[in-house]
């Protein structure tokens, strides 16, 4: 019994990463970043506006949060739809009450299906980013490159057309990518994407069509990760967000560099009547701290890029 020789060979064992997408860099050793107005903590509230199709194909896997029952899974379809009909309007009230500047990650298919919602968001003047076509249209290793290019072209093109916005940002469904996703995003005019969770600050990501910026959208603090995946209570989510806020503010002060608190949330999760209060309490807590700058993802990116040419 033995493994093939390649298992004891290490062709990428050298300085830096084991791929060429970005440079190795420790956050603690980077130049400080200053936020507008001397703020210490940028607050990026990212709302996933998602469409989970009833006829889910699940290729190459069933998307978390999607259909799990035999067709037709009315239970999960309608529970996710609830977020876009009911929960989101609770979110909007809360954002206004606490002075939040949210960013909305739209599945393009939802923007097509719910023009009222899209208009409502556009009228607020908030930033929209593309969250792919729908939650069942995954980008994945083994996907045909031309097919993925077409999917990205369609998702971005249609959302730009419907919204009239430039749509500079991207979040892949389930944060899943093929080896080509970053290249195709850059080729289609995307400036930043939010799939990689390896940093607490933006960094430069290389593609064969120029540079992208990877924006740090924490998955560990995400409502669905904490409450649906980990089965923690709503109260615990609130505590975790509060502790993260305190920690990042303290690190911003001790390092002399701005930090980002990124909350990725979903109206089908926190928009429920028994959960919305915890979101409100979290926002109230964060906004009660001094030095917090509520900003859209694009504004945070712009501020960072001005200092990281």
């Amino acid at each position: 019994m033995a493994l093939d020789r390649e298992h004891l060979q290490y062709p990428r064992r050298g300085y830096g990463m084991d791929h060429d997408r970005y440079d190795w860099s420790m956050l603690s050793q980077r130049n400080p970043v200053q936020w507008p107005g001397g703020a210490q903590l940028a607050l990026w509230v990212n709302v996933g506006l998602q469409f989970f199709p009833l006829n889910q194909q699940g290729k190459p896997f069933a998307v978390p949060g999607g259909m799990t029952m035999p067709y037709p899974d009315l239970r999960h379809f309608s529970l996710r739809d609830y977020g876009n009909r009911v929960g989101i309007y609770r979110f909007l009230r809360a954002f206004d009450e606490y002075g939040i500047k949210p960013t909305f990650a739209f599945n393009t298919r939802l923007a097509e299906r719910a023009p009222y919602l899209l208009e409502r968001i556009l009228a607020r003047g908030d930033e929209i980013i593309c969250h792919g076509w729908d939650m069942d249209s995954l980008h994945y290793g083994g996907m045909d490159r031309q097919q993925e290019a077409e999917l990205i072209e369609r998702s971005l093109g249609r959302l730009r057309q419907l919204s009239g916005q430039a749509v500079n940002g991207w979040l892949s469904p389930a944060r899943n990518e093929s080896p080509h996703t970053p290249d195709l995003l850059a080729a289609h005019g995307v400036r930043y994407f939010c799939d990689w969770v390896n940093d607490d600050m933006p960094y430069v990501f290389r593609t064969d069509a120029g540079e992208l910026v990877a924006m740090p959208l924490s998955s560990e603090l995400e409502d669905s990760f904490v409450i649906m995946n980990n089965l923690h209570s709503e109260q615990s989510w609130l505590e975790q967000v509060s502790d993260a806020c305190d920690f990042l503010l303290q690190e911003a002060r001790s390092s002399g560099s701005g930090r980002i608190l990124a909350l990725n949330i979903h109206p089908w999760m926190l928009g429920q009547p028994h959960r919305i209060g915890k979101l409100e309490q979290a926002l109230a807590y964060i906004m009660s701290r001094s030095g917090v700058w509520p900003a859209s993802a694009g504004e945070i990116l712009d501020a960072w890029q001005r200092q990281n040419k």
């Binding site: 298992h7 990428r12 994945y140 290793g141 607490d200 924490s218 209570s233 505590e239």
Partner: protein, 313 residues
């Protein structure tokens, strides 16, 4: 395949010969940060997949990279605050990939022990010669980059063969005689060090490295809330500290920079460390020092007691 790995005999926790720690401490306390490198595209092991998704597995790879880019410096600052020297369970390829981290730890005189080459290369399916080569490579890497003789082992991703401990002990002997390869963190059968039988007959010990207190087990497998994790650490300490009055105990907190150092989790860990190190009679030390003290002062009496209480087996 065997019914029992054969590393140790049954040895009841009550009425053992008393373990005494330096300075009369009741409890030896160590923190073992796992500093790991996971490959984005490793060769696929026939028995275990590295990642759930087809290449590139962005979610799993990127959160682990977070540990090195962001988390390490945070955890190091917390350990500095309480005068704790980490005992690093090291993916030794990290010496090549991220020498900055190695330099920071070496400056602080932290211990480096072997956790294989990469945490995406599993022992399963290796021939004994291949496993020996991998283990020796990892120990030599530590020596080359830090000057330390690697004393301890935690198999990469806890992937073992029947011969893992034998091969590690022997590779240590080959490298530096009795000064390398003398303890393992791979076994979870006790709250005190115990003798481990290896085929070369070398004096060799298992040092408690708690899976229950391991942040990744707590957060990923058991899905514990951060504040509850902090409370579990304190409760674990309280009981071991109390029992250490009778005979010295060991408490270990194994950590991962991509878990414990997240902004919503670090405070709970910090508070627990403050609590633990705020007690008198706690020996804040490293895995190697615990193993060395045990082998020098208690190993022989343990062997004699085990023999006397094994009913002639």
């Amino acid at each position: 395949m065997k019914e029992d790995p054969g590393f140790y005999d049954y040895w009841p926790y009550e009425n053992r010969p008393r373990i005494t720690w330096p300075g009369g401490a009741r409890l030896a306390f160590w923190v073992a940060p796992n500093i790991e490198f996971y490959e984005l595209d490793p060769p696929p092991n026939p028995q275990r997949k590295a990642w759930p998704q087809p290449y590139p597995a962005v979610p799993g790879y990127s959160i682990r990279d977070y540990g090195n880019r962001v988390g390490h410096a945070r955890q190091m600052a917390v350990l500095d605050r309480f005068g704790i020297r980490g005992s690093i369970s090291l993916s030794t390829a990290l010496c090549d990939h991220h020498p900055e981290i190695i330099a920071q730890c070496a400056e602080r005189n932290w211990e480096f022990f072997s956790h294989g080459i990469y945490n995406t290369r599993y022992t399963y399916g290796m021939s004994p010669e291949q496993e020996r080569e991998m283990i020796l490579d990892s120990m030599q890497s530590i020596h080359r980059h830090t000057g330390q003789h690697c004393a301890g082992y935690l198999a990469p991703a806890l992937s073992h063969s029947e011969l893992t401990l034998d091969l590690f002990a022997e590779a240590g002997t080959e490298l530096a005689g009795a000064d390398a390869g003398f303890y393992t963190c791979d076994l979870f059968h006790d709250d005190q060090p115990t003798p481990i039988r290896t085929r070369s007959g070398k004096a060799f010990a298992s040092i408690p490295y708690s899976l229950e207190m391991n942040d990744t087990i707590a957060y990923v497998v058991n899905r514990i809330e951060p504040r509850r994790y902090g409370q579990m650490l304190k409760d674990n300490f309280d009981r071991l500290y109390r029992e250490g009055e009778v005979s010295g105990t060991v408490m270990c907190i194994p950590t991962h920079n991509y878990q414990v150092s997240c902004p919503h989790r670090l405070h709970a860990f910090e508070e627990a460390l403050e609590y633990i190190t705020g007690h008198s009679d706690v020996w804040v030390t490293t895995g190697r020092e615990i193993a060395r003290h045990y082998l020098d002062h208690h190993y022989q009496q343990s062997l004699a007691d085990i023999a006397a209480r094994s009913g002639g087996h």
